[in-house]
């Protein structure tokens, strides 16, 4: 019995060593192939980078030698394109890249989409969006019918948002995958205003994550037309949405009326009080001091700290704080005022 086990063990070890040896050989061959691949790619980069530059930026004539032969050259072209697309905004260049990709790279990515490997399909979807290969839109829609992962689905949404916003609206509303807020932001931020505004109009029918992303995106877009929509959300039933709307309004930085904000000075949520203390930075101190004084004596540390910071930002802020320190009997508030004033003066 034991003898058998020893020999079995030996056999297992031998078998494993053989497997590992084969794996090693495979790796070494693979590495050889990779280094050949890299050589071809680098040669292309070396020979044609200048030609590409001339074609894209100096209106030089397109040369047929630029058309890729094989994967290595496709990768070289991807490198050239992505370095320009990431660093330069130039519609003319983007258009040329788009046209070239639709004509000469499309077939490669179309093939990749039917790969069994998830990572290859993902890379293809990335490129379709980055290089704007809109001729693959129908292919993408067919691809969607397969059993795809959430990540692939997301990338498809991105593609739809770029090529056919109507389709995007339809898909995202009917999507039953819930993405992270930051992912929704990535989708929304590139949308045209007339498409994006629809999300604000249909706000209440969206899932929470999407709602948060809509508010945050509206804030970074900094458009006057979103201001009123955000103000409406201050009356929303969900506290988190009120806070986000306050934050968005603070970031836009245009406060044309005080009234919508006053109720939040006495809000039950300290985050809302904090945001109001921040928003008051954008309003002259004469209008806000009485509220800020109230917030300076808040029970929450962050609110007190923010109120003090907002006050000292104003020209007469330090004087106001000194006045407060002398007249108040709230020890915590006094300490906060003293420290913020000291810090401001120190600078």
């Amino acid at each position: 019995m034991i003898k058998l086990t020893v020999s079995t063990l030996l056999a297992i070890i031998f078998f494993l060593l053989v497997v590992l040896f084969i794996f090693l050989m495979y790796l070494l061959v693979q590495r050889q192939r990779e280094s050949y691949f890299e050589k071809v790619r680098d040669r292309y980069l070396q020979n044609y980078s200048q030609l590409w530059y001339d074609y894209l930026f100096n209106n030089a004539l397109f040369s047929i030698v630029l058309v890729p032969r094989g994967r290595a050259q496709v990768e070289a072209i991807e490198k050239i394109f992505s370095s320009y697309l990431k660093n330069i905004r130039n519609e003319q260049v983007e258009l040329k890249i788009k046209q070239f990709s639709n004509q000469y790279l499309k077939a490669f990515y179309e093939k990749d989409l039917s790969s069994r490997r998830w990572s290859i399909r993902m890379n293809a979807l990335y490129r379709i969006a980055d290089l704007q290969i809109d001729e693959l839109l129908t292919k993408c829609q067919e691809f969607e019918k397969n059993n795809i992962t959430d990540e692939e689905h997301f990338q498809l949404l991105k593609i739809y948002s770029l090529f056919q916003p109507d389709l995007f609206m339809e898909k995202i509303k009917n999507s039953n995958v819930n993405y992270a807020e930051s992912e929704y932001r990535r989708l929304f931020v590139l949308l045209d205003d007339n498409v994006f505004i629809q999300f604000l109009h249909d706000f209440n029918s969206l899932p929470a994550n999407m709602q948060f992303a809509v508010i945050d995106t509206a804030a970074v877009k900094r458009k006057m037309e979103y201001l009123d929509e955000l103000k409406k959300l201050l009356h929303h039933d969900t506290p988190e949405i009120n806070i986000r709307a306050l934050k968005g309004l603070y970031e836009i930085g245009i406060i044309d009326e005080m009234d919508p904000f006053i109720p939040f000075v006495t809000s039950e949520m300290w985050e809302a009080r904090l945001m109001v203390a921040k928003i008051f930075k954008h309003v002259p101190l004469t209008y806000t001091y009485s509220y800020l004084e109230q917030l300076l004596q808040d029970e929450n540390w962050w609110v007190r700290s923010q109120a003090a910071k907002t006050i000292v930002e104003d020209r007469h802020g330090i004087a106001k704080l000194q006045q407060f320190i002398e007249s108040s009997n709230d020890q915590y508030a006094i300490e906060m005022a003293q420290e913020i004033a000291a810090r401001k003066e120190g600078k």
Binding site: T5, I13, F23, S119, I120, A180, R186, N209
Partner: protein, 473 residues
């Protein structure tokens, strides 16, 4: 004679059974890791990085660098943090009452000027002496405090930090420029369901670097260090990835990990009276998650790379391993009630037993195996077979697993791309069971013993500084 026979039978059986058990569990974890990495093989990660480099898609992070007598390495560490590709960070260097020139070095190098800053005491700590702000890099802060140990220094960092996430980095580690972006990925993509994430640690000895970034990795020439490189690869492929998949991670390295400040503060911050403060915090957070019945996760991220300096001499390595093992035992012992406790779910039923049996008590059994083989040799023929079987199991456990890990790493990540380096690592892996393994086992058992005897007088690792050493190579 009879008693010896029974003893040999009994221990032989236990050790054999144990080895089989460990091999099966490592195999399972290896397969899970393989499937996981296979999926992402050749995925273009830069796409994610480029999309999330904007502050609009990420969350700000405070980077905490506790430094106690780190005058050699701290400047490089800070440079590597300044080099990070991440939209919004603040760097907080905490000088924990160093007795060398750490404070002066940092003040002079980054033109630190004293400032008044209000600090909110979320976690009680030793007193802060002075806070400085760099005149060159406005997001770089230096906190000078009374000596209180690494955990206390980190707690001060948490109190001073202003962002919702913090990342702890050892004063002698170098981060890859994309590492923070990638370690934050599960946190961002889960909308905060992941509340802590740890990165993959690699050994920096032998890497070439300049101003805090590694530009070429090279396998070090010191055999002891290469063995550690292999050991790190193994630990990562046969442990962390699989455990993380099922939210069972109990250790994310203190050398590079991100935590949600809210949860860390609620868990009481880092414990100051324990050796393995990083493991302790993770266990405390797990406990908190279960007690609050919340659906939160702690993850290990395979790609972000933090480079750290590995001990180059037996003496220093011995100290390190002894300390690690003592720390592990201490944390497990402190939370022993979580073991097999239904209240803590899978953590209680899988993680704890795994850490007890495989990670903590494993060295004792394995060392027993080595001793068994030696005794069997003296006792004569009848034990040869059992001893031989044990030896073969050690070969599978030591050699085969190590080679598999090296090859698989080389396939999926390719940190050491030269053929010669790959072959050198494989050849060295064959020698592991004869010297490196028994040595580390012995040191870990020493750690166990020291815990039982409550000893805690270990020295600090003598560092030469990663960059400094490179100049001399």
């Amino acid at each position: 004679m009879k008693i010896i026979d029974y003893c040999m039978m009994f221990f032989g059986g236990i050790i054999l059974f144990y080895m089989l058990f460990v091999i099966v569990s490592y195999c399972t974890m290896f397969i899970i890791a393989m499937l996981d990495l296979r999926k992402r093989y050749r995925l273009d990660l830069s796409e994610y990085d480029d999309a999330h480099i904007d502050a609009f898609y990420s969350k700000p992070v405070s980077l905490l660098v506790p430094a106690y007598n780190e005058e050699v390495g701290v400047v490089d560490t800070v440079y590597s943090l300044l080099n990070l590709r991440y939209p919004q960070t603040e760097i907080i260097i905490i000088n924990d009452g160093s007795t060398d020139q750490t404070l002066q070095t940092v003040i002079e190098h980054f033109q630190m000027k004293p400032i008044n800053k209000i600090v909110r005491t979320n976690i009680p700590t030793k007193d802060i002496k002075q806070i400085y702000e760099s005149e060159i890099y406005k997001n770089c802060i230096l906190v000078d405090k009374e000596n209180g140990g690494k955990a206390d220094a980190l707690n001060v960092g948490i109190n001073v930090s202003q962002y919702p996430y913090f990342c702890s980095i050892d004063g002698d580690s170098i981060l890859d420029e994309k590492s923070l972006l990638r370690v934050m990925k599960p946190i961002i993509l889960s909308d905060g369901e992941v509340i802590a994430a740890g990165g993959n640690i690699r050994i920096a000895n032998g890497a070439k670097m300049q101003f805090g970034s590694i530009y070429e990795t090279q396998l070090p020439s010191n055999y002891l260090v290469i063995m550690q490189v292999i050991e790190y690869l193994r630990a990562f492929l046969m442990g962390r990835i699989a455990l993380s998949k099922f939210n069972l991670v109990l250790i994310i390295s203190g050398a590079f990990s991100v935590f949600s400040k809210k949860w860390a503060v609620e868990a009481g911050g880092y414990s100051t009276n324990i050796i393995g403060e990083d493991m302790e915090l993770v266990v405390n957070i797990h406990r908190l998650i279960k007690e609050k019945k919340e659906n939160k996760r702690i993850e290990f991220v395979p790609d972000p790379v933090c480079w750290t300096e590995a001990p180059q001499t037996l003496g220093v390595l011995r100290n390190q391993r002894r300390r690690w093992h003592q720390g592990l035992f201490e944390s497990l012992w402190k939370h022993k009630k979580m073991t097999l406790n239904p209240r803590y779910g899978m953590i209680g039923f899988l993680s704890f037993p795994y850490f007890w049996l495989v990670e903590c008590l494993g060295p004792l059994v394995e060392l027993g195996g080595y001793i068994y083989i030696v005794i069997a040799f003296f006792l004569g023929k009848i034990y040869y077979e059992v001893a031989l079987m044990l030896l073969l199991l050690f070969v599978i456990y030591g050699v085969i697993f190590s080679i598999a890990a090296i090859l698989f790493e080389s396939w999926s990540m390719n940190t050491y791309p030269k053929k010669r380096e790959l072959l050198r690592m494989i050849l060295l892996a064959f020698t592991e069971i004869f010297w490196y393994r028994p040595l580390t086992l012995f040191w870990r058992c020493e750690g166990l013993l020291r815990f039982v005897l409550r000893k805690s007088d270990w020295g600090n690792m003598k560092r030469v500084g990663i960059a400094e050493k490179e100049k001399s190579v």
